[in-house]
Assembly symmetry: C2
Homo-oligomer: 344 residues x 2
Amino acid sequence: MILQSEKAKSLILEIFSNLSVNNQVAQLCAEGLVQTSLRGIDTHGIRLVPHYVAAIESGRLNPKPNIQFEKTSSSTGILDADHTLGYAAGVIAIQHAIELANESGAGFISVKNSSHCGALAYPCLKACEEGMIGLGFTHATSRMKSPGSNREFFGTNPLCFTAPMEKEDPFCFDSSPTMIPFHKIFHHRETQTELPEGSAADLEGKETTDPFKAVQLLPIGDYKGFGWSMMVDILAGLLSGMPVGKDISQMYGDITQKRYLGHFFGCIRVDVFQPVKKFKSRLQELAEKVRKESKKDEESLNMVPGDPEKKCLEDRLKNGIPVSDEDYNKLNTLFIKTIGKGIK
Amino acid sequence: MILQSEKAKSLILEIFSNLSVNNQVAQLCAEGLVQTSLRGIDTHGIRLVPHYVAAIESGRLNPKPNIQFEKTSSSTGILDADHTLGYAAGVIAIQHAIELANESGAGFISVKNSSHCGALAYPCLKACEEGMIGLGFTHATSRMKSPGSNREFFGTNPLCFTAPMEKEDPFCFDSSPTMIPFHKIFHHRETQTELPEGSAADLEGKETTDPFKAVQLLPIGDYKGFGWSMMVDILAGLLSGMPVGKDISQMYGDITQKRYLGHFFGCIRVDVFQPVKKFKSRLQELAEKVRKESKKDEESLNMVPGDPEKKCLEDRLKNGIPVSDEDYNKLNTLFIKTIGKGIK
């Protein structure tokens, strides 16, 4: 099934309005969900709407938060997200980071009392509109098998790095330190296909390609991915004073409980190091050189981080967002139940 | 053979003095080389002395640099290293970053006209002495096979992240996004042993475990390690205005040519987000929890980034730095030739 992005956004906004979600929070979250779907990151896009709605109804997510910002130095601050929707917390944080960077060169915001913040790219890309580099970090539920152990400790803790380019949307490296994302296990269960070799482990920590046995994710580069994950937990969890490691709450399960997640966002001005125009054109040139490299075979593409998402965005803006029958039905049922009208 | 660290440092300082290296640069570089060897990162330790000496004599490295610092905002600045020894450039940069962070919360320094900066951990660990998080990034010669291509484009571009702990030396994640470092290929050639599966490729881009055929390194997590490497080149190369990607100069080869490398260093104060004492004790607790995880087998250890280096440091401070016969002879010959006395 296909959903047009504008239609999706207006339905989500109607739902949020019906649930009395604060207008700014609703706008930012709806835009974040739709933009993320448009960029092809379906796991963090509009299919999360039923989950977010359930979490608002159950009391986990605060629709009318008292979001507080405290500036703690000329380049740093703390944002208390008051358990609202994480997409909104991320953008509000990056807006403060931009303001601080405009004043002092760089801005870093620790976000506390937050929840699932969706795709880090959504707030981080906004830094580039101001000629800045964007940085984002968030921790997540314990899912990554530790190299020396037979079980998981840290999460799929992603980092996002964005930088403005001359002739196209920004460079965007938004990545987790695990070989595959957790939802890929579900996907392989549905399609009854084997997982890629070396990507997951079973309950006893043994590598497996059987999606029905897989419950842990393997880090990229073994101890290197593990180190990356711990670094992100330090930035997102320890700097914000939130729980870390195995103490991080589950996304699903008991959704009456607040999540107490932390994030860390930063903006660094380009113009304090290089003329922005020169930086953008050199990054453009670098990306084009990568894309023009000799291909290893006919099917291969030489891409830079963010290229698949840019291609997807262009396609989906024109042709709409493809949604699985299951997700379509869930969304449609939810819309009818909540706002009395379906997608069509 | 065994070299005592104090002896090694004094001999290196005598050599640098003999070559009329500026005193501050000599002190920082000698300390960096010895500390790095003590921490077990032998590739970036004292075995580099003959290379650095040859590079000073050939005119690549500037022994009497006019290092210039320009503050460009209250939290940023640019350091022109004037082609001096990179170890010194790194520490001088982090000292400026610390000063800026003390004033404004965070400090970021772009270093230009630099050279091989050794182990990023050496400057980054200094941030932790001031209760700050340290960050370091440097680009390097093109060595990493691009995922879509049959040849290399980016380098082994490392990032380093340090954070202060309560009862021990700082947390230190200093890592490259390739499966193995390039020197490991040489090591396997010497010992005539196979490389680990999935770590290297030959001239045509085909995966190989034959160290005599291996010339390219594979990224961790395929496109993820590639993205990390490009991110680091943007920070280290583009922000500093230095050459990037394949245009980065070679470390060996024609050592009369200056390298024109760039680095990026940052310090973020902990106390603007959390009480430093609380942060340190929570990080301590987190590390200890990781170390106490169930082991996957008898031989395995649950470690946090920096643990092997801490263990090595303790051992080598007591028992000295083990050096291969080849490196020992090279160093000894150099010492005798330059300062008229050998290691013994």
